[in-house]
Amino acid sequence: MSCGDKESDANVYEPIPYNLEVPELFQQKLIAPLIPANNKLTIEGVALGKKLFFDKLLSSDNSVSCATCHNPQESFSDNTVLSTGVNGLIGTRHSMPLFNLAWNFDEKFFWDGHKFSLEQQALEPIIQANEMGNSSWEIVENRLQNHPEYPKLFKQAFKTSTITKTLVTQAIAQFERTLISGNSKFDRYSLGQETLTPQELDGLDVFMNEERGDCFHCHGNPNNPLWTDNKFHNNGLDATFTDLGLGAFTGDPNDNGKFKSPSLRNLEYTAPYMHDGRFATLDDVINHYSEGIQNSPTIDALIKKVNQGGVQLPTQDKANLKAFLLTLSDPNFVNNPQFENQ
């Protein structure tokens, strides 16, 4: 017995620490990404997480992977209004893009923040009827355990070939933390490597100016290149709510109609927009803030000119704002071979 232990000890493979490449701008402007002490990134862990992320084996009928609704080319989101899971079952919300998740320091995930930590988040889709449709995690654990490759890969990543849901979600979370988008035109402008056109610069002013668009209080600014505050707000989509958002999770009526501010990076690839995918284009979104605001008791005080239906942007301001927003696109991120299915 003790001899056997010794032998397996000697055989234990030590996973190699993964060196997370933090973009220069993030190093300058932001605090270090949040990597939980009990789930440090390793080369083997990230690789395993990536394999799992793209593997349809995680769904009940081998038809859906995480990447089905989180497609790398769409900045890890999905171009349908509401995502479709196994058996053609449709979800209730629009998929969310996945990047810079290790900089969500509150660690509240989903549109309504109902899961704390990426590891906890990954537990959910696997057993959601309208996502990956498994009736239990045990089934998935067994399926992976009986797979020709996975036990070995878990052994390399976690020093054990016994596959548990905890380890599955740890591996996936490791991969997700490597999804970093920090090389947009605007990032290079911030680093002094590129210039913006007068139109884009004026669009930035619309974004930053309290007398024009005032988007920056919720969606970041040049010194916060996440382009989100990762907080929850009611941005005036509806007068009454069919989806209570944060309020359904906290039970506090003051939170009704609040959803997490999405990052404005990579909007070029993530249409349609909002938690229910109601807006097909960026123009629709801008028109919403300009003229389409709906009042309700929980509407955020940062939404301006509610009684006029919004910030009333002139046509030229709208075009400039859009031009600025598109400088936040990071084509290198959506085309990064490192993030594509092997």
């Binding site: 300058q28 402007k29 932001l30 605090i31 900089w103 320091f105 002013d205 930053m208 100016n209 309290e210 007398e211 005032d214 920056f216 209080h217 970041g220 600014n221 040049p222 010194n223 916060n224 996440l226 505050d229 003051n254 008791p297 509407i299 955020d300 005080a301 940062l302 939404i303 301006k304 509610v306 009684n307």
Partner: protein, 252 residues
């Protein structure tokens, strides 16, 4: 200059005290701070702040949605005028109860002190984009308004019983005209004596109602939003902020 000298003396004092700390623990005290908030006599806490109906000096009934602020250079000054800087800066979010408490970075000798702090950042410290934690909190003040950081973000609605209307009482650098800015921080010195022995906890109280009354009675119907680019509104805020702080309970 005198201040720099005082700081040098203070630092060397601290070091010499630090050396015999093991033998004589009572000569050095750790200071902890506890921030508390009120609206006149109503306690305002992380749990209740979004539920309160509050009436300001001008008579408007209002709700608070968000209240975040920055103070810096928190110092205790001893009876001979030596300043001990206990904290470079402190960002507080009323919604985050964890942000109410903080500790001084150095321990100081026992004795009598008074508290001094700066509302926001002074010009020297208010460097655009320089603080990673504040950037991460999206605390920045727009470059066309002078850059640096917000000092206060106070959002809510007033006239809540008739026509609820948003206000954004945001304070930071004041813009006189394009490219011309005026500092807008406030140096606050509280006269209350603070006796420090062993480990001392100091309650610093902030009365939100003062923002609306002293010396300028604030009429939200006129000044609700946008206020960031409004020079005179920024200067009225600066005046009203002078009286928001008080020393509360001190426990040793």
């Amino acid at each position: 200059m005198r201040k720099i000298l005082a700081l040098i003396i203070a630092t060397s004092l601290f070091i010499s005290c630090g050396e015999d700390q093991d033998d004589n623990i009572s000569s050095n005290a750790n200071i902890s701070f506890k921030l508390s908030h009120s609206f006149n006599d109503t306690a305002v806490t992380a749990e209740n702040f979004t539920d309160l109906d509050l009436t300001n000096a001008n008579g408007e009934v209002l709700n608070i949605e968000r209240f975040r602020y920055l103070i810096s250079r928190i110092e205790l000054i001893n009876s001979s005028g030596l300043a001990y800087k206990l904290k470079d800066y402190k960002f507080t979010d009323l919604a985050e109860i964890d942000s109410y408490n903080f500790n001084g970075d150095i321990s100081i000798p026992s004795g009598n002190y008074t508290l001094k702090l700066i509302w926001g950042f002074n010009e020297e410290d208010n460097i655009d984009g320089a603080y990673q934690d504040l950037n991460t909190a999206s605390w920045n003040w727009p470059t066309p308004l002078g850059g640096g950081y917000h000092f206060l973000q106070f959002d809510g609605k007033y006239n809540i019983n008739t026509t609820p209307t948003a206000f954004n009482y945001h304070n930071g650098t004041a813009r006189i005209s394009d490219g011309v800015f005026e500092q807008n921080f406030v140096t606050i010195e509280l006269a209350n004596p603070i006796f420090v022995t062993n480990n001392t906890s100091i309650e610093l109280k902030l009365d939100i109602a003062e923002l609306f009354k002293n010396p300028n009675t604030w009429d939200l119907n006129v000044l609700d939003t946008p206020l960031m680019p409004n020079y005179s509104a920024q200067k009225m805020m600066q005046e009203n902020i002078e009286s928001v702080f008080n020393i509360g309970e001190i426990s040793n």
